[in-house]
């Protein structure tokens, strides 16, 4: 049985037609179910609890990347299969999973190609894509075995998926959502030698000013004397200590045949 979790913005008039087409297609495919809308009075966690009580096995998130981000925080607490029908923008996650927009997403939903995807966890908060820790020279402890310290002020990125974050695009073929690891990237500025700036040839063949260190990790911790802000899937959180770890294969997600992994 299916439960459709609608974000609040899909009720806007501009989405009426596309939503109608989706609901028609769902009925044609025989995968209709109960529709629950996220609102001020009802959050995703409550909707998922009700879905479990009704015996739903699949929850379909109807919305954009922000809808997925809001739901991801509570998803691991439930033994359900999830899917996305992308509406609005941005929709990078659905595209990465091979899910096309609108009614075409219903066909992927019907095909039920399920992948077990890793999630990341920072303190008690789950994340899907990446963490950004800008402009820091703080030491990072990895896998409880070694420390990594940039000698100059640099930025730290932790990626579960290969999506570009605010100011960084991970090198190709380094992040994968089903490999059981997270990738730690540390960018440091080039040093000056005799007044000249060193240039490094990037993996893409383009000249890059920054140096990038890449370390596959399962766990890392970073702490500082004073609180600092990090960005988790584009949401800011503040603290003086963050413990980041991978949770392998925790998310059962319906994907499309055009998925990018």
């Amino acid at each position: 049985m299916y439960t459709y979790l609608y974000d609040s913005f899909v009720s806007e008039p501009r989405y009426t037609k596309i939503l109608g087409n989706i609901e028609t297609r769902i009925t044609d495919l025989g995968i209709q179910g109960r529709i629950d809308r996220v609102s001020v009075f009802k959050n995703p966690k409550e909707i998922l609890n009700e879905a479990i009580r009704r015996g739903s096995k699949t929850v379909v998130i109807v919305g954009n990347d922000d809808t997925v981000r809001k739901t991801i925080e509570v998803i691991p607490n439930f033994d359900l299969t999830f899917a996305i029908i992308p509406i609005g923008s941005p929709n990078k996650i659905a595209k990465y999973l091979g899910i096309q927009e609108g009614e075409l997403a219903c066909d992927a939903l019907s095909a039920r190609i399920i992948e077990k995807i890793d999630l990341g966890k920072v303190n008690k908060k789950y994340f899907f894509s990446n963490i950004v820790i800008p402009q820091t020279s703080v030491s990072v402890e990895c896998n409880d075995k070694f420390n990594i310290t940039p000698e100059d002020v640099g930025s730290v990125y932790v990626h579960n998926l290969p999506f570009p974050s605010e100011s960084f695009e991970p090198p190709e073929n380094t992040s994968h959502p089903c490999d059981g690891i997270l990738n730690l990237y540390i960018t440091t500025p080039p040093s000056s030698t005799f007044g000249k700036v060193k240039w490094l040839l990037g993996r893409s063949g383009k000249i890059s000013k920054e140096r990038v260190s890449i370390v596959p990790i399962k766990k890392m911790s970073i702490k500082a004397d004073n609180p600092f802000t990090i960005s988790v899937d584009n949401a800011k959180i503040e603290g003086s200590e963050f413990v980041v770890e991978v949770v392998p294969g925790i998310l059962k997600m319906i994907t499309g045949k055009d998925r990018q992994f």
Partner: protein, 133 residues
């Protein structure tokens, strides 16, 4: 779609980054920074010209162009280029040293037999018998 092997990704320690502790990997390792501790990988390792390592190094194959203070144990082939500076014992199945490379330490090259060698000729057997008498 094929799934990526767990923890088999490439590791790069760029210049300007320092690693302290025991570093273990299953994939290829490229070091241009500084490492203090131990480095172990099941795959290949490349020590860049700017790298400064105070650690024991274990890998399958290795190319060394930088500085290592520590023992180096390579399962297959070790290449030391002209800018390599190794202070420690080196063990490898195949060793290639370019002119200009520096090595200070014991060097063991070639396959180490897994059991004690038995005499293969009649003369060796007689010599062995004489020493035991």
């Amino acid at each position: 779609m094929f799934k990526k092997d767990e923890a088999g990704g490439e590791t790069i320690i760029a210049f300007g980054v320092r690693v302290e502790g025991d570093f273990t990997s299953k994939g290829r390792v490229i070091i241009d920074g500084e490492v203090l501790g131990n480095i172990k990988t099941d795959d290949d390792i490349h020590i860049g010209e700017q790298a400064r390592i105070v650690a024991n190094v274990h890998a399958r194959n290795a190319i060394i162009a930088g500085e290592i203070k520590g023992n180096v144990r390579i399962k297959d082939r070790l290449d030391m280029v002209s800018t390599a500076r190794v202070k420690g014992d080196v063990t490898a199945n195949i060793l290639a040293i370019e002119a200009g490379a520096a090595l200070n330490g014991k060097c063991s090259v070639g396959e180490i037999p897994s059991e004690k060698m038995k005499p293969t000729t009649k003369i060796e057997s007689e010599e062995k018998k004489e020493t035991t008498d």
